[in-house]
């Protein structure tokens, strides 16, 4: 009785001090999140209800008019469609390339270190530099790509890559994939390195072919990593900005416009801060919905990687 009485307040005291510690240690990051994430989010939702050029006290509250306009804005839907195409290309082309590179490099072992570095290089280059470089490569008058195609007699394939609305998006996506594939290659390499070597050896002893080992052992082992990679590339594709901005500026005629470049143009070239915020908020809602849904459906594959 006596002991219990004295123990209770002590424990309560310890608990509350623990709560205090938790609060104190979380406070800086919570504060940063609130200031740099939560506040801009809420404030851009608020801005999306205004007709405002971003200057002085001229804002006019117009309710959901911007959102109604967005729903009928062909350019926005075109840009969303381009974002989706980019996401599909990332999953269907970029990830298999990254996976193939990772499996081959892992198989090659130590001898492949120089290749690892080489393949990793595009990721280290600034997007602007890459954009300028590929603008030169695609140039229809001087670019090495068309010169090479013509040298092989493939004149019909030498297109106006960035200037023709039919090819501009594809040409840009190809560069985006070239730049980002190495990131996923590293991700898959990390996943593969955590696979116990015995499993592989046992399979070899049992006479399994490389093909079988890949499909039956390596790929299932990478389930969690693949899930992460898919999620990252979908979210990255929906938010994409830099190479599109540098290489085509969303053009020609909006053929390579993505949501982020459209938002930028609306705010900074057309002076429509209110409508630009609507585009930004819509982009956020789309990204968060896609993220939530895909995380929900893939939760059974959850791993740390």
């Amino acid at each position: 009785m006596n002991i219990a009485l004295s123990a209770t307040p002590e424990r309560r005291l310890r608990l509350s001090s623990q709560t205090l510690v938790t609060i104190v240690f979380l406070a800086p990051s919570l504060l940063l999140l609130a200031v740099f994430l939560l506040y801009p989010l809420v404030s851009s939702l608020r801005l999306s209800l205004l007709d405002w050029n971003g200057l002085g006290n001229t804002a006019r509250y117009i309710g959901l008019a911007n959102w109604a306009k967005l729903a009928h804005d062909a350019v926005f839907w075109q840009s969303l469609r381009n974002n989706v195409l980019l996401a599909v290309a990332s999953i269907a082309i970029q990830l298999p390339i990254a996976l193939a590179l990772a499996v081959l490099l892992e198989k090659a072992g130590r001898g492949s270190r120089i290749l690892k570095v080489l393949y990793f290089l595009p990721l280290l280059m600034s997007s602007v530099a890459i954009g300028v470089l590929f603008k030169q490569i695609y140039d229809p008058n001087f670019g090495p790509l068309n010169v090479a195609l013509q040298a092989f007699g493939l004149d019909g394939l030498a297109k106006d890559w960035l200037g023709d609305p039919h090819f501009s998006l594809g040409a840009t996506i190809a560069v985006i994939i070239w730049q980002n594939a190495p990131f996923y290659m590293i991700l898959f390499l990390a996943g593969l390195s955590s696979m116990p070597a015995e499993v592989n050896e046992a399979a070899l002893l049992d006479g399994a072919s490389e093909w079988t080992i890949f499909w039956r052992i390596k790929l299932p082992h990478l389930q969690g990593t693949v899930r992460t990679a898919v999620l990252l590339s979908v979210l990255g594709s929906l938010r994409y900005f830099d190479l599109v901005f540098v290489m085509t500026g969303g053009g020609p005629e909006g053929s390579s416009e993505v949501m982020a470049t459209y938002m930028y143009r609306t705010v900074f070239s057309s002076f429509q801060l209110g409508y630009g915020s609507t585009i930004g908020s819509a982009m956020f809602l789309i990204v968060i919905t896609v993220a939530a849904v895909s995380m929900y459906f893939t939760r059974r594959y959850a791993t740390e990687v």
Binding site: N53, V132, D139, P140, G163, T248, E253, F268, S269
Partner: protein, 432 residues
């Protein structure tokens, strides 16, 4: 138990209050000898251009003791963003460079810009030094909000004299002569024009000139004022048709809508001899002289040709008389001093330095020019019955974007001239 804690807290509060008031006392003591700072932003990043402004600021500081000019030079796109963000965040610079036209009007409508008319009315000698057309760009509803500072520029057709001589052709004065030149050059495997139209304002130059040559300078002014048929005036439709006629005739080196002017894609076509002409702002002459001095010797320029049956004067120009305009934000604490700073930045010395050291054509009447190309341009500007400001700067920003988008689509042959005109007029009606 509670009371002592409270007392302690109270003593802390009063102690800090004391400390605070001490600080305040100290800071007022410092303010007894105040330095009045005037911030001045511009986009003149190269060494000689920014030195002209700094020297002018030094002259201002010397003549007005107690003031200090804090300047910053930021390049083009970043400058536009920085300016917008600073005004949006209520921390605008005192004096800042802008492009006049629809963009400046946007700031004026929001009450962000000081009306300079009272200052200018007091000093007619200063006002009359400037080319008359320079004031049109910064005057809205009879009030003037900016002073032209940097450079007068008009779009002209630069051409390669050597190529013209080689194929026995002369600079075209009319549309039909132009089509003939296109054909001759094409038969020799040379494109008539190089155009880098990823940037859109580059192709817009053809459209603006065609509208002027076909319908005269009043058409776009009426369209802006919402008079008549606006942007559906036949002159706009006709201009679109002429552009597509040129495209279909193979007048342009391939890839127009994907080529980037900023990375020199259009000039490279000139240097390599793959294209013979480029319609571009007069600044191109000095860019080319820097990039390829040898080529520069073969370079000449001509005005845009006339169109049969058109109402426009062959001497009309598209361009800007000033390029960089200096304005004062209403949040500036010392507008009187800021105007003096603007005067220093546009005084005789600064203007002459712009001409002599910077190869510019300052927007004033009394400056001496040595460079022959700039001299000819100065005369063209002086003789021009009309100098129409670039549409993308004259129009309200959203409408300017629409103009650039539709014009790019005209070049891409994916939009009919009628549809382009309709889209423009619909957007103009909505108030841009």
């Amino acid at each position: 138990m509670a009371y002592p804690a409270f007392a302690k807290a109270r003593s802390i509060v009063s102690a800090s209050a004391l400390a605070f008031s001490l600080c305040a006392a100290v800071s007022t003591a410092v303010q007894a000898e105040p330095v009045k700072t005037i911030t001045a932003w511009d986009q003149q990043t190269n060494a000689s251009s920014s030195k002209i402004l700094r020297d002018a600021a030094d002259r201002f500081e010397k003549a007005n003791p107690g003031y200090k000019v804090e300047e910053s030079h930021v390049l083009n796109e970043a400058y536009k963003t920085k300016l917008k963000v600073s005004f949006g965040a209520d921390q605008p610079p005192c004096v800042f460079e802008n492009w006049g036209g629809g963009g400046l009007h946007e700031y004026v409508k929001s009450g962000q810009i000081v009306d300079l008319s009272p200052y200018l009315n007091k000093d007619p000698a200063y006002r009359n030094r400037f080319m008359k057309a320079s004031w049109d760009v910064t005057t809205f509803d009879g009030k003037t909000y900016g002073v032209a500072a940097e450079n007068a520029a008009a779009a002209v057709i630069f051409y390669n004299k050597e190529v013209f001589r080689k194929y026995g052709i002369t600079p075209p004065k009319t549309w039909d002569e132009l089509l003939h030149v296109v054909d001759v050059l094409k038969s020799h495997g040379v494109a008539a024009f190089s155009l880098a139209n990823k940037n859109k304002w580059t192709g817009s130059m053809y459209y603006m000139y065609l509208v002027d040559r076909i319908g005269g300078p009043q058409v776009v002014k009426d369209a802006l004022a919402g008079k008549g048929k606006g942007f559906e005036d036949p002159a706009f439709v006709e201009a679109g048709k002429r552009i597509q006629e040129l495209v279909k005739a193979g007048a342009f080196a391939p890839g127009i809508n994907g080529l980037d002017y900023d990375s020199g894609a259009s000039r490279r076509l000139l240097y390599s001899g793959k294209a013979a002409m480029e319609l571009m702002g007069a600044w191109e002459a000095s860019t080319i002289a820097n990039e390829d001095p040898a080529f520069s010797k073969d370079l000449d320029f001509m005005p845009f040709p006339t169109v049969p049956g058109g109402k426009g004067d062959a001497r009309d120009l598209i361009g800007t008389v000033g390029d960089g305009f200096l304005s004062i934000s209403t949040q500036c604490k010392y507008p009187d001093a800021a105007f003096k700073l603007i005067q220093a930045m546009t005084d005789e010395q600064a203007m002459q330095e712009r001409a002599s050291n910077d190869h510019k054509l300052p927007p004033v009447n009394n400056v001496k020019i040595d460079d022959p190309i700039t001299q000819r341009l100065q005369k063209m500007l002086a003789d021009a019955p009309s100098v129409q400001l670039w549409y993308d700067q004259a129009l309200p920003p959203a409408l300017g974007e629409m103009h650039k988008d539709t014009t790019q689509a005209l070049f891409g042959l994916s939009l009919t001239p009628e549809a382009a005109a309709q889209q423009m007029q619909a957007a103009a009606k909505k108030g841009g």
